[in-house]
Symmetry: C2
Subunit: 309 residues, 2 copies
């Protein structure tokens, strides 16, 4: 859980909710990259059901390795993409910090003033809950292969398994998915009384769902029977096992929310989110009562259903 | 003014005050560097009279150019120095983000929930105010010369003007000064009804005081008659004019607060701050009614008094 929820020392009943995140660009389109960076920062907030973003400070590293003209345009567009999406999310960029760095950096620090009722703590999941995933997995293999496709000797290794057309589609889906806010999912978490949530990040589905399981106060085992994956990325898993995508350990950038929700509300949640966002939403597993060991955990069933997206 | 003061969209009368700052290390001692980075981040808050820090997210870039052992120790100590000083300031580090980068990076994002009475807006200064500076100037030449002293062909240029002993003292004073919080100054801004303040940063005394002048609603001219400077740094100004120290344009790291305060309270403010912090505090000028032009501005008198510290 990357978000910190700090009680105000001075004003009782109020909390400061904040997160910071930044990383290196993944997309070639700087405007889109700005949006991805924003969606990635805010995702931490949305995972705790925080729908109100008061402000965001932007964190920017401008590369001294780029030609000045290119740098100027790229930086301008990245900042615009970031700020536009913050605005769309109902917040505003009110400052930040920029450094000159060898590699470009983009991210921010998002903040919200809230009361207990404004957020959904990550420990409230229950055995019997359905697990919902709001985005498909597979952003890492898509971005990785995109890099390979530009280097002939590397692409040689991938070409027997993936056409350029397939890669192109997968990369576009990944970018659009990464740039999509988890805002509506957070709104619906309140409406459909979700018990808890996390976002899927660099730790991958298993890393983050294990963390969520550990946080959960109830004795639970999180079982995944379904993995939604960006089309054509799953078939890379055998020739390139280092992705660990089907094992659930491939890192995701600006990934899905994983939500624990009462079973009776799961259908309605997914239906309404699909209507609002125009993207599919997935029921990927459920929480059962843990009967072994002394620690909650998550696992994927032996032959999970793969849904290609 | 690097701080943003954002009204809560949801809770009337409440504001979210936040700032973010990060940069590359200046001191050789990583623990001290952590403290400098913290004092530098919080200084933005203190300049607006904010004495209550609710939490800080740490921003860290770990260098991939350092040997692993060295990196481990340096990173650990930097983080500890940072967190210890946040703790001393009454806040806590509740998260952050770390990346691997070619150069090390250290800083953070500080936040506070406040009401209007908790902060001092930067536009309230008045003609007749005294200008107070809470730390001496000259951190940049001290750090710069420290780097030069390690490269024989560079130090050759400096040696006729500065002994190694003088440099050593200046650098130690600079580090101690940079690691000192402006917290007590912020507390006293409220006690002695200061009108406004800013912190002295990478824009130097003139850059930041011009910004403060522009923010000031009253028609004012900020006149500096005194420049407190770390001992032996002023004499570098003639042989190395690029520092622009005596012109007021040398960048400062974790610099002073510059405070506009009613003349009758200036002595008491300085006396009490000196008692609390054990460092001298300086009355460096005053604000007069602006009679020319259409924009407030700051300037240094022709032959300012230099106080060596």
């Amino acid at each position: 859980m990357d978000v910190c929820i700090t009680p105000s020392k001075r004003y009782e009943g109020l909390f400061l909710v904040a997160t910071t995140d930044f990383f290196y660009p993944l997309c070639e389109d700087p405007y889109l990259q700005g949006q991805v960076a924003c969606a990635n920062v805010l995702s931490d907030m949305y995972a705790q059901g925080i729908t109100n973003i008061d402000n965001v400070l932007m964190i920017l590293g401008v590369s001294d390795q780029m030609p000045p003209d290119e740098r100027f345009i790229a930086t301008h567009l990245m900042m615009k993409g970031f700020a536009d999406l913050v605005h769309y999310a109902g917040g505003k960029v009110t400052g930040g910090q920029t450094i000159i760095n060898s590699w470009p950096i983009l991210g921010g620090c998002a903040k919200s003033i809230g009361k207990e009722c404004d957020f959904i703590r990550p420990d409230q999941g229950l055995a019997g809950d359905v697990l919902i995933l709001t985005k498909p997995l597979g952003t890492q293999p898509a971005a990785f292969m995109r890099d390979w496709s530009k280097v002939p000797c590397k692409w040689e290794r991938a070409a027997p398994h993936l056409t350029l057309k397939e890669l192109d589609r997968a990369f576009k889906v990944a970018c659009a998915s990464m740039a999509r806010l988890n805002l509506n999912a957070a709104i619906l978490m309140h409406k459909y009384k979700a018990h808890s949530g996390t976002d899927i990040t660099g730790f991958g589905l298993m890393g983050d769902s294990n963390k969520l399981a550990h946080e959960t106060a109830d004795k639970v085992e999180l079982i995944f029977h379904t993995l939604p994956i960006i089309k054509d990325m799953a078939k890379l898993d055998k020739p390139f096992p280092f992705f660990k995508l089907l094992k659930g350990f491939a890192p995701e950038t600006s990934g899905a929310l994983l939500i624990m929700i009462p079973a009776e509300n799961a259908d309605a949640f997914c239906r309404e989110l699909e209507e609002m966002d125009g993207w599919p939403c997935f029921q990927v597993g459920h929480a059962i009562k843990r009967t072994t060991g002394d620690k909650n955990f998550a696992r994927i069933v032996e032959n999970p259903t793969i849904i290609e997206v």
